[in-house]
């Protein structure tokens, strides 16, 4: 056996390790090493701090891509003067500068106070720029949630037992008959199956009675449990409602933790109604475009999903301009309280000072697709209202109530004092259990 094959067979792990090592060196070798690493690093800093908002080395942003720009200007114009103040430099009538301005106007380049050396460093960085090779994370394909139908299996197993039991009974009868035959007695008459079963039932009344009682109670319990979760799509007992959205928008990536490489955008950046209105609100596409004009590629889905935002807003990424052809994004509504109940985000966020995660779960940690975390039943609302302490101190909304609770007996009602006895005021004590606060 050739050596390599033997090694592969004995220890595939070793081969993988060697391969990985090769790959590692392979990628580092691919990444061009700038000749002057220190200049490159200082240039990177200057470029990102002063030019990065408008230029990228390799693609057009606000201004043109800058790779090879120094060579382009060599002998045709004064690139330092241009960078320091392009509008002033334009007055010299330099034909190349004028041509660029004609292409990009009316956006001028901000005057930037840098020394020639600093500009050189920035341009050195640009000329030697190699995009970082980032590992492409695999798209996590959610395994289709196994239907929680354990009881169905129980029924099937029970049916199997029944069939086995019936055939065993048949075998037993045959045996008995042969014994009877051997003893010269008349065999047990071959009655129709139903007749035989009912005879058996007649002989074993207690077992059958207890058995069917047990079965009935069990089925009723199942029905009772199932009835509790009718129309409930969140909470601990049922699979969460988690519809596919028209764009694979990822909460974990956008709102997740910084130290896990996520963007940590505040929930209210997109759901800006949460403090002001009944609805937290779904962001309109222009909010996405605040960032996505400059970001056309995602780490998991590449350009496909972000292209859908462009289609919705009519953005032409090549021309960096809106075409005016818009098409609304039809997000699927996840949470859906019936109209008979009133729920207000402003009350809970602005007055109650609650965190979104208390009701929506770890959406920023583990939800690539938004889902209904809580059951949204009346019991759920009420339960929290019974336990949850209201943050009364420094809460302008409750100044008057606090004054009355803490003020002299004449001002408030003596009866109110009993709410303060346990040292905390729950939502219920303020009326969070009044039917009319939620139903009207």
């Amino acid at each position: 056996m050739p050596l390599l094959a033997r090694i592969t067979e004995r220890s595939p792990g070793l081969v993988h390790a060697i391969l990985a090592l090769f790959l590692l060196f392979g990628t580092t070798a691919l990444q061009a090493q700038p000749a002057d690493a220190a200049l490159y690093a200082s240039g990177e800093k200057i470029f990102k701090g002063n030019c990065g908002a408008c230029h990228k080395p390799d693609v057009k942003l606000v201004g043109p891509a800058l790779k090879g720009i120094k060579a382009k200007w060599e002998g045709k114009g004064d690139i330092y003067a241009w960078v320091k103040n392009s509008q002033v430099y334009l007055k010299t009538g330099n034909p190349m500068a004028t041509a660029i301005w004609e292409e990009y106007k009316p956006t001028p380049m901000t005057p930037i106070a840098l020394s020639n050396e600093e500009i050189d460093a920035a341009l050195y960085y640009v000329d030697n720029y190699a995009p970082a090779v980032t590992a492409k994370k695999e798209v996590v394909v959610e395994p289709v949630a196994a239907n929680d139908n354990n009881w169905l299996w129980l029924v099937i197993v029970a049916l199997l037992f029944l069939v086995v039991g019936l055939s065993l009974a048949g075998v037993k009868r045959d045996l008995r008959n042969s014994v009877l035959e051997a003893e010269g007695k008349a065999p047990v008459p071959d009655l129709p199956r139903m007749q035989r079963i009912s005879n058996w039932v007649g002989d074993h009344k207690v077992i059958v009675g207890l058995g069917s009682l047990f079965l009935t109670v069990w089925l009723m319990m199942l029905a009772w449990d199932a009835a509790w979760v009718i129309g409930v799509y969140g909470g601990d007992e049922v699979p969460h409602y988690k519809p596919e959205q028209p764009i694979l928008f990822n909460h974990t990536l956008h709102a997740g933790k910084v130290d896990q490489g996520n963007l940590a955008i505040n929930c209210q950046y997109c759901h800006s109604g949460a403090e002001k209105s009944k609805h937290a609100g779904i962001p309109s596409a222009n909010v996405c475009m605040n960032c996505h004009k400059a970001v056309d590629t995602g780490r998991n889905t590449g350009k496909t999903e972000i292209a859908k935002i462009y289609a919705a807003t009519g953005w032409d990424p090549g021309k960096m301009a809106f075409t005016g052809k818009e098409q609304p994004i039809r997000w699927i509504k996840v949470h859906n309280l019936p109209d008979l109940a009133f729920f207000s985000h402003a009350q809970h966020i602005a007055v109650g000072k609650m965190e979104c995660q208390e009701c929506h779960g770890p959406i920023d940690v583990q939800m690539d697709v938004a889902e209904q975390w809580s059951p949204l039943t009346m019991g759920w609302c009420i339960q929290c209202h019974a336990q949850k302490e209201v943050k009364m101190a420094g809460n302008g909304y409750y100044d008057e109530v606090m004054a009355r609770l803490n003020g002299d007996e004449n001002l408030g009602h003596a009866e109110l004092k009993k709410y303060l006895e346990d040292g905390k005021i729950t939502v219920k004590e303020l009326g969070g259990w009044e039917c009319s606060k939620c139903h009207y």
């Binding site: 908002a53 009316p106 009935t216 199932a226 009835a227 979760v229």
Partner: protein, 227 residues
């Protein structure tokens, strides 16, 4: 005897069927919102925000569903509408913004647009709360251009507020850029923040321009009318 067993069987069978039926309403398909059981008063005739009436399984007819879908519940206010404010001190914030989204508008705002909100510790603090929600992700906590979107998302880095480019940016230009955005990478935030909030956050940006100090001293408040 056999009759009784039969009725027993029927009872058991129908119970089994009920359990299965109930369980089938309980979900399982992550794309299905399930069946609404006795949906009286679940969907009012009044239009609710974000409810896709075209999807409502209880609309009376298919045409109605389609026509309702064509009329989304989220509407734009009539052009030229001015919001009402019961607080006269804040009424000025509701006036239209007179500077157009052009380079000339930007320059004009820089010269003549002034913050009607005083530069006080309290207002800077309020501005900070807004800044941390709406700007920190890109500009970073101290306004150095090092927020998580820049660091983790490879986003074009904004210049530092206290750096050479932005240190002396006048408040009118700050407000103008928050309202309309600047170039490609700084978006318009007028749809998320009302004028008062934009002016508050402008004060916090100025605070950061001063390197996190109140240095320039309290600036007298100007009447908001006409802004």
């Amino acid at each position: 005897m056999s009759k009784r067993t039969h009725s027993h069987g029927i009872a058991l069978g129908s119970m089994l069927a009920t359990v299965m039926l109930l369980a089938s309403c309980g979900g399982g398909d992550k794309n299905s919102p399930g069946v609404e059981y006795m949906p009286d008063m679940y969907r009012g005739p009044a239009v609710e925000a974000y409810v896709d009436y075209g999807q409502d399984p209880y609309t009376r007819s298919e045409e109605l569903a389609v026509s309702q879908r064509e009329r989304p519940s989220a509407r734009q206010p009539v052009a030229g509408t001015i919001p009402f404010s019961s607080d006269p001190a804040k009424a000025g914030f509701n006036m239209p913004y007179p500077y157009p989204n052009t380079v000339e508008g930007y320059e004009a705002a820089g010269v003549s647009l002034k913050d009607p909100i005083a530069m006080t510790e309290a207002n800077v603090e309020k501005g900070k709360v807004i800044f941390m929600k709406f700007c920190q992700a890109c500009h970073g906590e101290r306004g150095l251009g090092d927020g998580p979107v820049v660091n983790n998302g490879n986003y074009p880095a904004p210049p530092a507020y206290d750096g050479a480019q932005l240190k002396d940016l006048p408040e009118g230009k700050i407000f103008h850029s928050i309202t309309y955005g600047k170039n490609i990478a700084m978006g318009a935030h007028a749809s998320q923040l009302n004028k008062e909030e934009r002016w508050l956050v402008t004060r916090y940006v100025q605070f950061l321009q001063n390197g996190g100090k109140m240095e320039r001293g309290p600036v007298a408040a100007v009447a908001p009318a006409g802004n």
